[in-house]
């Protein structure tokens, strides 16, 4: 059931998108497949690195944030994909056992002249850990159809 179309989204609205606890096993599993650097694979190597412990790949943190954004918002919306992200900052390491919470705020909305029936929404994403510290932020535009528009 689509709850949010382009017209329903306005700058200043924000959404709390739920939480996700990152286990040591998952950090290692993701790293083995996508980012096999020692500090993402091994506790000792993690402690010896700038990261200070077994830390999730930044792409893993981004992927978990994507999951929460999809389940907590996009899948109830008319979203038709995103052209990209900008100004992504990995502010703090995500360590094994951390519980992440994602907040999304709408920062702008405009109709697309090039594509009647579609609008572009800019979303600011913020991922925090269980202490409230911000671990990652980025800006993410995405396309949404207007109410009643067939794709």
């Amino acid at each position: 059931m689509t709850r949010y179309f382009f017209e329903d989204l306005e700058p200043g609205q924000f959404f709390e998108l739920g939480t996700y606890t990152v286990t040591k096993a998952e950090i290692i599993e993701f790293a083995n497949e996508f980012d096999p650097q020692p500090f993402h694979l091994d506790e000792t190597a993690g402690k010896a690195s700038i990261l200070g412990g077994l830390a999730a790949s930044g792409w893993h943190t981004a992927s978990i944030t994507m999951r929460l954004l999809a389940l907590g918002f996009l899948n109830n919306s008319s979203c038709q994909g995103s052209p990209g992200v900008d100004k992504l900052v990995w502010r703090k390491p995500v360590l094994a056992g951390d519980t992440l919470a994602v907040r999304m705020e709408i920062t702008s909305a405009r109709l697309l002249k090039s594509r009647p029936g579609f609008g572009m929404i800019n979303m600011a994403l913020e991922t925090r850990n269980q202490t409230g510290a911000v671990v990652m932020t980025y800006n993410n535009p995405a396309m949404f159809t207007l109410r009643g528009e067939a794709v």
Binding site: E33, F34, D35, P36, Q37, F39, S49, I50, L51, A55, S57, G58, W59, A62, S63, I64, M66, R67, A70, L71, L74, N75, C79, Q80, G81, S82, P83, G84, V85, D86, K87, L88, V89, W90, P93, V151
Partner: protein, 159 residues
């Protein structure tokens, strides 16, 4: 990159590697991390403006990282055999202007490249510098599907 910060030159190009995205792995990644209809099944994707099953943009990005790390490990092994010193590579503080320019459809083969575009000395970590890169992924038709600007810490020469 096994070179130290001082030895890396603006304009250096690295062929990172090539990856073909199978429908099975697109769906497997999407079920875990990006469960939107166009990433989950061919049938559901046909109901969207993509029209066909395509990879999550974060999947395209994560494969870039996999290939880059494997390429660096290969270069590192070769350097060790020559007895050459090896610079440590640190984590990345972040990225800019990541663009998913075209969908990566099931069956597409993407070639990834990085070009060094700049270097910054780290004020907070005098033993490290930051190397900036322009990264591109190109499909089998020669179309750029993916690009972003990267930043990564690289150890400075101890000499």
């Amino acid at each position: 990159m096994t070179q130290f910060f001082e030895d890396i030159c603006i304009g250096d190009v690295l062929d990172i590697g090539v990856h073909t995205f199978s429908p099975e792995e697109i769906i497997r990644y999407a079920e875990k991390f990006d469960p939107q209809p166009y990433h989950l099944s061919e049938e559901a994707a046909q109901q969207t403006h993509f029209g066909r099953l395509c990879a999550s943009g974060w999947h395209t990005a994560s494969i870039y990282m996999r290939l880059l790390v494997l390429k660096n490990q290969e270069i590192e092994r070769a350097a060790r055999q020559r007895g050459a010193p090896i610079a440590l590579i640190g984590p990345s503080p972040g990225l800019e202007e990541l663009k998913w320019r075209l969908p990566v459809f099931a069956g597409d083969t993407i070639s990834y490249k990085r070009c060094v575009s700049g270097k910054t000395e780290s004020r907070s970590r005098p033993d490290w510098g930051i190397v900036h890169g322009e990264n591109h992924g190109t499909n089998q038709n020669g179309e750029t599907v993916f690009s972003f600007k990267s930043n990564v810490f690289v150890q400075r020469s101890p000499r």
